[in-house]
């Protein structure tokens, strides 16, 4: 569209910090020229809770609840990354049951997280109904988690060397029930939202992230795959035995409009939910016997060393850089948040678009401010 034709008087507009579509407390300083956005300056830090400072004052297992609270939408995946990094530092190998349970929970959480992302995205764009469908399904996953470990959002489930609880009796059957019931919902979502004409108009030609930009800004996860790059750490650097599972890595194809658009990113998430379904089924089928507390060390005290470990969370590549001084308390814990890196790209892709497109772009990159500000 020729936006130049709509040029008018320039104005600075503050979007946020409290705004329903910023997915947390994010302030955007928009320099607008009529309806056209000339520049975007993101201001972050409103949710800064000093995670890294706290982590330097508590013992290794004590950090895990803080990890849960960073990306509160996908807590299972967050604590998993931390537990794996510490295990790497200690050279600790967990048993097969723990590995399988971790995959199972990570994928269930991925479905819950993508449902929230897709549902709220539809709502941001102006379609309210899919939100209700998505939250209905997400509720069922949260119920499963509540049954598993007592918490619905912040689980403290992945421990160093194991997991907190084995699955309760009947959990497997209930999960299978959920899978069978959830599978048609994805097809329903396609009908309801994905190919909806208004939705396509709002998203298919907006917020294009090119391959080059994505790499230079270290965009990861579904946002990167939306730009057509088949990169998934579960395939490339497998952990928890992901290499033994069969699944595909969905990428954006640019079916509607240019490659790397908001719609591509949205649709990668929808397709990923299907893959997660398959992963959960495989995990349930193989679930080996074992004691989930078998390898939990009495004392977590890694030798003097350091590690940077990364895992694939629903939002992309979450990295933990942990420096151990040889004591009971980490010397330094640094978190590389996938949302942090993708938000830094926002000014570049939002410039020159319309104000309404900002909403569509923010929703499509699926950020959680708790993880950006830490």
């Amino acid at each position: 569209m020729q936006v130049e034709a709509y040029a008018g008087e320039e104005m600075v507009l503050n979007m946020g910090p409290q705004h329903p579509s910023t997915h947390g407390v994010l302030r955007l300083e928009l320099e607008t020229d009529g309806e056209v956005v000339r520049n975007v300056i993101p201001h972050i830090g409103y949710l800064h809770r000093c995670f890294e400072k706290h982590a330097e004052h508590i013992d290794y297992p004590g950090v895990i609840p803080f990890c849960d609270r960073m990306d509160y939408i996908a807590s299972m995946n967050n604590s998993l990354g931390y537990a794996l990094a510490v295990e790497k530092l200690m050279d600790l190998e967990v048993n097969e049951r723990v590995k399988t349970l971790r995959v199972l929970m990570a994928e269930l959480n991925r479905i819950a997280s993508h449902l929230l992302s897709v549902g709220t995205y539809a709502m941001d764009i102006g379609s309210f109904t899919p939100f209700l469908h998505c939250f209905r399904e997400r509720e069922k996953v949260l119920d499963l988690f509540e049954w598993l470990c007592g918490a619905r959002l912040l689980y403290n489930y992945n421990w160093v060397g194991g997991v907190s609880h084995d699955i309760p009796e009947g959990f497997e059957a209930k999960t299978r029930e959920f899978l069978a019931q959830f599978e048609p919902v994805i097809a329903e979502l396609d009908k309801l939202l994905s190919y909806n004409k208004i939705f396509l108009e709002r998203t298919a030609d907006v917020g294009i992230i090119s391959e080059e930009q994505a790499l230079s800004h270290n965009v990861t996860g579904p946002n990167l795959r939306g730009s057509g790059i088949a990169w998934d750490l579960r395939k490339e650097e497998p952990y928890c035995g992901y290499e033994t599972y069969e699944f595909e890595v969905p990428v954006g194809l640019g079916e509607h409009g240019p490659l790397g658009s908001c719609w591509d990113r949205y649709y990668v998430r929808v397709r990923e939910m299907e893959q997660s379904l398959g992963l959960i089924r495989q995990a349930l089928d193989r679930l080996p016997e074992g004691d989930v507390h078998e390898h939990i060390p009495r004392r977590v005290r890694p030798a003097k060393s350091e590690v940077y470990d990364r895992t694939e969370t629903p939002r992309g590549e979450l990295g933990y850089y942990i420096v151990s001084g040889g004591g009971l308390i980490p010397f330094r814990v640094k978190v590389k948040s996938p949302c942090f890196t993708v938000l830094s790209l926002l000014p570049a892709i939002a410039k020159g678009g319309m104000v309404a497109d900002i909403i569509a772009i923010i929703g499509s990159i699926d950020i959680v401010m708790g993880e950006i500000d830490r």
Binding site: I44, G45, H48, C50, E52, K53, E56, K88, L89, Q213, L215, S216, H217, N218, W231, E236, K304, S305, E306, V307, Y308, R310, E317, G319, Y321, V323, G325, G326, G327, F331, R332, K334, K336, F340, T341, S344, L345, D373, R374
Partner: protein, 186 residues
Amino acid sequence: MKQASEIIQTLQDQFPDQIIKSSQECLQPFVVVASDAVAEICAFLKNDRDLAFDTLMCLSGVDYKNAKNEPERLEVVYHLFSMHHRHKIVLKAELPREDPALPTVETVWDIANWHEREAYDMYGIHFDGHSDLRRILCPDDWVDFPLRKDYVQPETYRGMPAAAAKQFAERAQEGEDLGTDPFRAG
């Protein structure tokens, strides 16, 4: 894909004076480079066709004050990865704790812009040539650098109490009458 030893060898051949030391015995091999040559070395690592480090995975500051058996210093750690060749390397630059400064790598990887702002915000490390070196997580008028090991939390910020309030249990232990004990005499 190249082994870490080959990457380190290439670096040593290319920058004989700027490589201070390297280690391959640890979990993830690293190279300590002269801090003023960081930008040059990073640009080489990215642009060399056989190395092609196209991704800056992480840029972190570390404050080695009061660390056991470690000289006192600040460190900037670059975790690099090549998506094209799938190899990794860790670069480290050591800086004094007083007036730490080194060149920016923002021109090499765009993401360094925000990572460096964070390192500045938390450790007070200056990145020379950075286009927009402002605080990122803390408010603009915040004093001092919170992740330094000798950081002292201010009592107030703009007249608001900034220190954490005492927990009820602590206050009770100190003998304060909280008026919440149902068995309290009187």
